[in-house]
């Protein structure tokens, strides 16, 4: 039975709550209502108000309370209604949660779920990809699954992890992708990228919803005779530089792709890692396909122009393959 990305997250949460009584959820409208995207529909009825806590509209308190509960040995999973609002609880994450272990040896197991990404006509405040605020903050872990399998496996790993994890779930994937999931319990390790398509001529390094764009582009390019490898980072921090560099070493060409805006984006970190580690193997410039440096616009023709897509990837990929 095929499982959607959203259902995979749901299953992961549910199974972890069944497994470990210390796991609990908190956030706005997640209880009675089941969450803005219905990820937690039915949880309140099954697990009760103790383990599914509806909060006031207070992102700093949601995250701060998660830190407190985590310090005390619980395993809170906080939901941001949209990833965009994580900025309202920002200090708690980057200055409190991220630094406890280093500063005073305290473990802060907690997960912040952040529904992110565009393509849903959400406009500037319901479409952002704010992962880089966190990737630049040592002490955090940041994951961004692209598949239902990884969505489930990573939410489980995130919950079991003893460090704070920001879990970016892409809203555009919620109901759009499905796959058959294994029956039993499984996890996907944090910190391991995955080669999701093997190829020889070019590596596309990406994550989140853009994995699907990369795979689409790779299909088209294959018809043209170009063999494209696609690396899905899955975890953004700690970054699996080995898998990235191994792929580039093999193909000698790298195209970096993300939905986030360009300047200061993940592609920069990847370009730096590649050009410091496997420069000698590179046969072409490292190129980027990203959203441009603007807020996310609302109107469909603008948002379509804003978002990276297979066509934009194909154009740059062709150029690289021919280079």
């Amino acid at each position: 039975m095929s499982t959607t990305y959203l259902e995979a997250i749901r299953q992961g949460l549910w199974e972890e709550m069944e497994r470990d009584p210390n796991v609990f959820l908190l956030g706005e409208d997640i209880g009675v209502y089941g969450g803005a995207f219905k990820v937690t529909a039915g949880f309140f009825e099954h697990f009760g108000e103790k383990r599914v806590v509806d909060t006031p509209i207070s992102e700093a308190a949601i995250i701060g309370a998660s830190i407190g509960a985590g310090l005390m040995g619980l395993r809170p999973v906080a939901e941001m209604q949209f990833a965009d609002f994580i900025s309202c609880g920002f200090d708690q994450i980057v200055n409190f949660a991220a630094k406890c272990r280093y500063r005073w040896g305290a473990s802060v197991p907690m997960v912040v779920r952040a529904p992110s990404g565009g393509g849903i006509h959400g406009g500037p405040y319901h479409s952002q990809n704010p992962e880089m605020w966190f990737v630049r903050t040592p002490g955090l872990k940041v994951v961004a699954p692209a598949t239902a399998y990884d969505a489930k496996g990573l939410i489980k790993s995130a919950i079991r992890d003893n460090d704070p994890v920001i879990y970016f779930e892409h809203k555009g994937l919620y109901r759009r992708i499905k796959e058959d999931l294994p029956a039993g319990d499984y996890t996907v390790p944090i910190g391991q990228a995955k080669v999701v398509r093997e190829g020889r001529d070019l590596s596309i390094i990406t994550y989140g919803a853009m994995v699907w764009v990369a795979l689409d582009a790779a299909d088209t390019l294959a018809e043209e005779g170009a063999s494209v490898e696609v690396v899905d980072l899955r975890t953004l921090l700690p970054l699996d530089r080995e898998t990235v560099c191994a792929s580039v070493k093999k193909t000698a060409k790298a195209l970096l792709l993300h939905e986030d805006t360009r300047t200061g984006g993940m592609a920069g970190e990847l370009a730096a890692s590649i050009s410091e580690s496997v420069f000698e193997y590179l046969d072409a410039p490292i190129l980027r396909v990203t959203a441009p440096d603007t807020p996310v616009p609302y109107s469909p023709p603008l948002e379509d122009a804003f978002l990276p897509n297979a066509q934009k990837v194909i154009e740059k990929a062709r150029w690289l393959v021919r280079y």
């Binding site: 706005e28 409208d29 009675v32 209502y33 803005a36 509806d54 909060t55 006031p56 509209i57 207070s58 992102e59 700093a60 308190a61 949209f82 965009d84 609002f85 900025s87 309202c88 006509h121 959400g122 406009g123 500037p124 405040y125 319901h126 441009p292 440096d293 603007t294 807020p295 616009p297 609302y298 109107s299 469909p300 023709p301 603008l302 379509d304 122009a305 804003f306």
Partner: protein
């Protein structure tokens, strides 16, 4: 008197008798209702609205009763159920509809959706999604007004749920310490999305938060446009006199789900019926009849005129083109020649 009472951007600067005010109130409440009904119940379902839809059905008396008090020196910072504030401040319905449809003739030319619009020429500050973020901004606007030697007041709008946010506290506290001319206008519609008041705050009223800022806080019948208007006049006079901010808690009810896709199953049955009886438009009409400010046969023509206005606006908006993707990169920064 004509059925249509549109006043242009700064009604608060003009005089006008009670009857005239009543007609104006009724017009704007009816226009807001009609416009939002059209958006939520028709255009949204027809797939013509690009993004989410949040309406202020049942709460019209609040933006109308407050925004009509605001004059040219005053600054408005509406929240997401204050459609009438945009209309009163001078953004026409057709441009608002163009915005909802993602067209180039919306006030933001397609960059933004729904009620996310503003225009500093109209002293109208755009909301951002993060709730209560405009509260400290309102304090800053008020600081600027005083700095500039103007007698203006900032009207800062928010819902009950927004008062839980840190920015709300910081903004209100800053305004109260600085004795800034701000009227804080809370629409307490008893829910924040699915969250009832009791899960949002431990105190019974938002007004119970006034003393924390040594700020007068008044509870107002938010479904009585005249009560709202009177209280706003009082609050604005207080603020204008340099006595500091003033909080109006307008009790009301959200006569819809949180947004167009929310059926509001979590609201106890009966609440809609109960509050339906307190509909601000019906009550305004009743008062007008009672006071002799209007005769019963004036209302249907008004409604028809409003319907026509919205029909025309929809037609106009649907003709507006989508923005040119070539404009995507413009205006991130000021254009330098």
């Amino acid at each position: 008197m004509s059925a249509i009472r549109a006043l242009g951007p700064f009604p608060g600067d003009r005089a006008g008798g009670e009857a005239e005010l009543a007609h104006t109130c009724l017009y704007y409440m009816a226009l807001m209702r009609e416009l939002e009904d059209r958006i939520e119940r028709k255009l949204y379902r027809q797939g013509k609205i690009v993004g989410g839809v949040y309406v202020g059905r049942g709460q019209e008396a609040i933006p109308v009763g407050t925004a009509l008090v605001a004059g040219e020196d005053d600054v408005l910072l509406p929240a997401h159920r204050d459609m009438a504030a945009f209309l009163i401040r001078g953004i026409p319905a057709r441009r608002i509809l163009a915005q909802y449809m993602g067209r180039v003739d919306g006030p933001t030319h397609g960059r933004e959706g729904n009620m996310h619009m503003g225009d500093m020429k109209l002293k109208l500050v755009s909301i951002i999604s993060a709730l209560a973020a405009t509260v400290p901004v309102a304090a800053g606007c008020a600081l600027a007004l005083r700095y500039q030697g103007k007698s203006g007041v900032a009207f800062s709008y928010f819902g009950d749920g927004a008062t839980s946010r840190g920015d709300w506290h910081e903004g209100v506290n800053f305004a109260s310490v600085q004795k800034l001319p701000v009227v804080f206008i809370c629409n307490n519609n008893q829910y924040a999305y699915s969250t009832p008041l009791s899960a949002q705050m431990a105190c019974a009223n938002v007004a119970d938060r006034g003393p924390a800022y040594n700020m007068p806080a008044e509870i107002v019948d938010g479904n009585d446009v005249f009560a709202v208007h009177e209280a706003t006049v009082r609050a604005a006079a207080h603020a204008r006199a340099g006595l500091g901010p003033y909080l109006l808690e307008c009790k009301t009810f959200r006569m819809t789900g949180h947004s167009a896709h929310d059926a509001a199953h979590y609201v106890p049955t009966g609440m809609f019926d109960e509050w339906g009886k307190l509909d601000p438009i019906t009550r305004c009409e009743a008062r007008m009849l009672e006071k002799g400010w209007a005769s019963a046969d004036e209302f249907e023509p008004l409604r028809a005129a409003v319907r026509q206005e919205v029909d025309d606006a929809v037609a106009w908006a649907e003709k507006s083109p989508y923005p040119d993707p070539a404009t995507l990169l413009d205006d991130v920064y000021e254009r330098r020649e």
